[in-house]
């Protein structure tokens, strides 16, 4: 496996040593990582697993030498470090350029607005001579499979998977001995996940660099790594590393513990509530229909005083939403699935065609959901956005849940039940922004349901969720369906679609940038 010096492009794999290492974020009572002992030899490929709160991201940030100044909430202050964490025998901060870090959100992995400049950015910061930079840029773009793009291609025109591959190219151009990936594919569709995984595999084979990756979905990385390290949340007595060994051994020894922690172990689909006989559920009455619908997120453009309608991403879409029935909207990225769902939900104005509510749904509010007032909308069609934070409107979990009912003037009695059902009772006084990813998801579903809508629209509800949240969500939605709510979900998740049953609306790709 040892790559020749030429093919490796001068990459020397890095070693990692942790001895009793611990870290407490500023302003937190509990340490994020406590008493970590681990050795990673040069060229090893390690998958880090563990429940949320085990400090996986903290460790990765520390290895990248970016821990300490600012945490994710933008707060800074005094943090505590104990023990030692070394990359090639020195603290990571003194090893600038020895490691490259990729984070979850593709939008913040791009620094500059042109593809070539973005890849060159890291190499520039390491003071690589100009001619060498461009040679590295071309090589790195070829390695991640983006060499067909011109160097001045705008980075904003790339898909999520392409942005992550671009970030990888930017890392490769620095020639790091240690590649750190923090849930690099959590925000990507299945095609994007494979794109990024395969690009990482190619680059590792070529450079022989050390890899540490954090990811919930084990099956994606299992065959690429040669070691799995399972971390556990920091306590005073227990060591941070729970298990450490070859993937197959760790997965068989810790299978129960990992599934309990919500890790997606290969071959494991969490059990969900079975739907009742679909024909018996609800009335099956038509609530909402789309005919010849053309959709776009763009508003009409102004050319002087004239209005030019936007070019729709999807045209001529027909769909029916019925009480007690599930509708899954599927298709590749960029096909306009979310845009369609938002239009159906009365949040975007149709470019062409129409969305019409039947009398069962509109109850006197008019045919077109887009013209409804906000209060009229939420008690009829509820929409759960992909990013829960976008929908938080108060500073407390309880106020979030009461917000809809208070505006409507009824339905506050349902809040208690929702809190209970979605396991939020302990969190009523917490600030929504401080919750974990799974808790935020459950809260965002609960807040929308508090207004008792007859139609529930969800945009990628299972994206980046652990197996536990996934199972809870699927079971809860199947209950809602049986109780007569219509559920429309935009999703890439075939297992989720199967768990809910119902019809599928498959959208074909609109005009997209070639991968």
């Amino acid at each position: 496996m040892a790559p020749s010096q030429d093919a490796a492009g001068g990459v020397r794999p890095a070693a990692v040593t942790a001895r009793g290492w611990g870290w407490r974020h500023a302003g937190r009572a509990k340490p994020a990582v406590h008493a970590l002992d681990v050795d990673i030899s040069p060229g090893e490929r390690v998958l880090l697993l563990g429940p949320s709160g085990a400090g996986k991201s903290t460790l990765l940030h520390a290895l990248a030498g970016v821990l300490g100044d600012i945490n994710d909430d933008g707060e800074s202050g005094d943090a505590d470090e104990s023990g030692s964490l070394l990359v090639d025998g020195a603290p990571p901060r003194e090893r600038r350029g020895r490691s490259g870090l990729m984070q979850q959100d593709p939008e913040t992995q791009v620094v500059l607005s042109r593809v070539g400049d973005d890849v060159a950015f890291g190499a520039e910061n390491l003071a690589v001579p100009r001619d060498a930079i461009w040679a590295r840029v071309h090589e790195a773009l070829a390695d991640v499979g983006l060499s067909h793009l011109p160097l001045d291609h705008p980075t904003s025109a790339l898909s999520g998977g392409q942005k992550q591959r671009l970030a990888l190219a930017g890392i490769l151009a620095m020639r790091p001995g240690l590649i750190l990936l923090d849930e690099p594919t959590a925000n990507l569709d299945p095609d994007g996940v494979l794109e990024v995984r395969d690009a990482v595999a190619r680059c590792l084979d070529k450079t022989g660099a050390t890899l540490v990756v954090v990811e919930h979905r084990v099956s994606v990385w299992k065959d690429l790594v040669d070691r799995i390290v399972v971390l556990q949340p920091g306590t005073a007595s227990d060591p941070a590393v729970l298990l450490d060994g070859p993937p197959d051994r760790v997965l068989s020894e810790a299978r129960d513990m990992l599934t309990a922690a919500g890790v997606w172990v290969p071959g494991y689909v969490p059990a969900t509530r079975r739907r009742a006989d679909i024909r018996a559920a609800g009335t099956g009455n038509l609530l909402l229909a789309a005919e010849g619908l053309g959709v776009s997120r763009e508003r009409p453009r102004r050319k002087g005083f004239r209005k030019i309608p936007p070019v729709p991403v999807q045209e001529g879409v027909a769909a029916q939403v019925r009480a007690g029935r599930a509708l899954a909207v599927t298709g590749p990225n960029g096909a306009g699935k979310s845009t369609f769902a938002l239009t159906l939900a009365g949040l975007l104005e149709p470019v062409s065609g129409k969305v019409s509510a039947t009398v069962d749904l509109s109850r006197g509010a008019g045919i077109d959901p887009y013209t409804w007032k906000a209060e009229q909308l939420i008690s009829r069609v509820g929409t759960v956005f992909q990013e829960p934070e976008h929908q938080f409107v108060t500073g407390k979990v309880l106020d979030e849940l009461l917000f809809g009912p208070r505006h409507l003037g009824h339905g506050e009695d349902r809040v208690e039940e929702l809190l209970e059902r979605l396991r939020l009772t302990q969190l009523v006084d917490a600030n929504p922004y401080t919750l974990s990813g799974g808790e935020k998801r459950r809260l965002s579903v609960a807040t929308v349901l508090a207004a008792s809508p007859q139609v529930l629209v969800l945009d990628e509800p299972t994206f980046g969720q652990d197996a536990n949240t996934w199972a809870e969500l699927a079971s809860f939605l199947s209950e809602l369906l049986d109780a007569g709510t219509a559920v429309v979900s935009v999703t890439h998740d075939a297992e989720f679609t199967a768990a809910l049953g119902g019809a599928e609306l498959r959208m074909s790709a609109a005009e997209t940038v070639a991968p």
Partner: protein, 266 residues
């Protein structure tokens, strides 16, 4: 706004000039025009600016499409000056509280032309200058600290993202029952709430981007530049042209006796 103003793939002559020399020319012209409210210097500058359009790859219809708010603002400014400024000379229009005299009309036209003449160089500069090239020039040629320049450049890319985010948050909040329609008070309240949501997202994105940049070695002392910012003969022409335009505008105003320094009053 940035994406609207910068023309992608602009291959015009001025797009090849160094952003710093273009910036210097703009400052020269704008400085002269900012000193006086007269219509002679403004119209001389305006004529030259219009002649520069093809060199910057801009056309009148593109200008109208992208810059109509500026044009509208200049027109409104001129109109209100014409009717509200103290009257001098013959009264041309009398509509109760609004009167327009020869003097105030002249001042209004001066104001209108000056608005155009000051706004256009900036529009010209943006239309043929890539922000990345501007940053390169500011850091390499003007020797501004690269941390500051590149930090600003990276942040500007987030601005476009924030515009999309604004729309999404607006929809997400409507889905929670926060109406962005209704009376003025309701709208203001909704906008404030939406702004807070956007601010939270902006801070999160910015801190993540900062981590990305730091992880790519940003913030160290020494750094090289993949793109060399260079001056060429073209840049002499650009600065010379700017100087000439400023000089001609000033000269014409002085020669016709219409030079009217802002702080001296009239």
């Amino acid at each position: 706004m940035r994406q609207q103003l910068t023309l992608d793939g602009n291959r015009a002559l001025l797009a090849r000039a160094n952003p710093l020399s273009k910036f210097a020319a703009v400052v020269l012209i704008t400085a002269v025009l900012a000193l006086s409210i007269d219509w002679v210097s403004a119209s001389v500058a305006l004529v030259f600016e219009l002649m520069l359009f093809p060199l910057a790859g801009l056309t009148l219809s593109l200008l109208w499409q992208r810059g109509w708010p500026l044009i509208l603002a200049a027109a409104i400014g001129g109109w209100s000056t014409a009717i509200l400024a103290p009257d001098r000379g013959r009264i041309l229009l009398d509509a109760g509280i609004w009167t327009m005299s020869e003097g105030s009309l002249q001042l209004g036209i001066g104001f209108l032309l000056r608005g155009f003449a000051i706004a256009l160089p900036a529009v010209l500069l943006m239309s043929c200058t890539d922000p990345t090239d501007l940053a390169d020039a500011l850091a390499q040629k003007a020797r501004l600290p690269h941390r500051f320049v590149l930090g600003t450049l990276a942040a500007m890319r987030l601005v476009g993202l924030m515009a999309e985010e604004w729309q999404t948050i607006g929809m997400a909040r409507r889905a929670r029952g926060v109406g962005s329609r209704g009376n003025v008070v309701q709208r203001v309240k909704a906008t404030l709430g939406q702004s807070f949501g956007l601010l939270v997202q902006a801070i999160r994105r910015a801190s993540r981007l900062a981590v990305t940049m730091e992880a790519r070695g940003f913030g160290g002392g020494q750094r090289t530049w993949a793109r060399e910012s260079t001056f060429s003969v073209l840049d002499l022409w650009v600065v010379g042209g700017g100087l000439l335009m400023a000089g001609l505008a000033l000269g014409a105003a002085l020669a016709t006796g219409s030079w009217n320094m802002v702080w001296l009053g009239s």
